[in-house]
Each structure stands twice: as C-alpha cells, then as structure tokens.
C-alpha cells in the first residue's frame, strides 16, 4: 500500500533529516535541491524520496547525477538499500 504524506515514521524522518544534511553540502551552479516534509512515498519495502530544485532551469543530466550521488551516500549513511532518490513519483 502506498503512503504519501508528512513523515510519521521514525525511519523516514531520519532519512529525510540525513538527506537534508547531504543536500546542504550540495549547491552547484546556483541550483539548490531540497526535500519537503511530505516528499516521500512509502511503498512498504521500498521508500521513494522526492528531491526538487529550488528554481527552474536545472539541466536534466546534472539533476540526475546529483540524485544518484545523494542516493548512494544516503544508502550508506542510513544502512538501507531499499530507498531511491527521485525527481518525482508518478501516481
């Protein structure tokens, strides 16, 4: 079952907090990425964290490279491979 919304689960709150720490270190070409409190989808065995740019004009490849870097670091830091950092989650 998909759950979307404000993080109530301690594990997801911790993931988002850790992701924000990683995002603070990243600011390239003036485009900052961020994750909202409700920027996740919990699929049960799999967590999607949605990271968005703060302004228009980010280059697609740069955006994806940064998401991939964040995802790798976050997986290591929280010790969970069943998460992905994405630009969007389609309904």
């Amino acid at each position: 079952m998909l759950k979307v919304g404000v993080a109530a689960n301690t594990k997801i709150v911790r993931m988002i907090a850790t992701l924000r720490e990683l995002l603070k270190k990243q600011s390239q070409n003036g485009v900052t990425l961020s994750v909202a409190d409700d920027g996740y989808v919990d699929e049960g065995s799999w967590i999607y964290l949605i990271v968005k740019p703060d302004k228009p004009g980010i280059r697609a490849y740069e955006y994806v490279e940064r998401l991939n870097d964040l995802e790798a670091e976050l997986r290591t830091m929280v010790g969970d491979n069943n998460l992905t950092v994405v630009p969007a989650v389609p309904d």
């Binding site: 228009p56 998401l67 991939n68 992905t84 994405v86 969007a88």
Partner: protein, 139 residues
C-alpha cells in the same frame, strides 16, 4: 517455463519504443536541424529498455510480481541480482547504473517541465538504451 507469447510481446514493445525514440530524434550527427521532441526521445528510450529487460527477465525464468510488471524503481536491482550470473558482475553492475539513470532522466523529462532536457541528454538515453539492447538481446 517462460511464456513465449509474453516475452515476444515485450520484445515487440521494446522494438517499437526503440524505433519511436529513433524516429523522434532523427538522423544523428546532423547539426542543421532543430530537435523538437527531446523529452519524448528520453521517455521512449527508457521504455524501450524497460520492455527489453522485462523480456529478458521472463526468458530467464524470473517470476514477476503479482501485479504483472516489475516496478520501475526496483527494476535495476532485480536486473542486477537476476542476471548477474548470466552477464557477469561488471556488466550487470553497469546495466544497473544505466537503467537507474535512464529511469530518473525519464522522470525529469516527463514530470519536471522547468528542467532543461537537451540534445546531450537525448543522445545519452539513446546510447544507454542501445547498451541495454546489446547486452540483453538474445538472437
């Protein structure tokens, strides 16, 4: 035993998406044309790879989830773990990265209208799709 009708259907979908991505992009190497459908090239290139991976996983005897299709986000992981033995670890790991990147570029192309999707992104997705086809095609 793989369902041959189903694997053939996935392969047909892969080829159709592949042809569509190529047609939308146009002739590679020409700099005198305005390429107008770059987001759609990215999207179709991803779906070509997605369908080809489904065909190969089913042919390899991997059981899909009850909903029928493997989820987009998990597909690179399933691909790696299911085909590492057939393909070798290095190729499987490369495909993991390639498919994951294709998926995320497709999400940007389809869901972030303010991001810039350029010719380089489209060409990269076509190259990634070709890599998936090359490694997974069974003749």
């Amino acid at each position: 035993m793989p369902d041959e009708r189903l694997t053939t259907a996935w392969r047909d979908m892969a080829q159709d998406n592949c042809a569509t991505a190529g047609a939308l992009y146009g002739i590679p190497g020409r700099h005198d044309v305005d390429r107008e459908h770059l987001r759609s090239v990215v999207s179709r290139a991803y779906y070509a790879a997605y369908a080809m991976i489904h065909a190969r996983l089913l042919e390899s005897g991997v059981t899909p989830p009850s909903r029928g299709n493997f989820s987009h986000a998990k597909l690179p992981v399933v691909l790696y773990h299911s085909l590492e033995g057939d393909l070798g670890g290095a190729i499987a790991a490369t495909l993991w990265h390639v498919v994951d990147t294709l998926y995320k570029l497709r999400l940007v192309a389809d869901y972030d209208p303010l991001a810039v999707v350029d010719d380089g992104d489209a060409r990269m997705c076509l190259a990634h799709k070709s890599r998936v086809f090359k490694e997974l095609k069974r003749c």
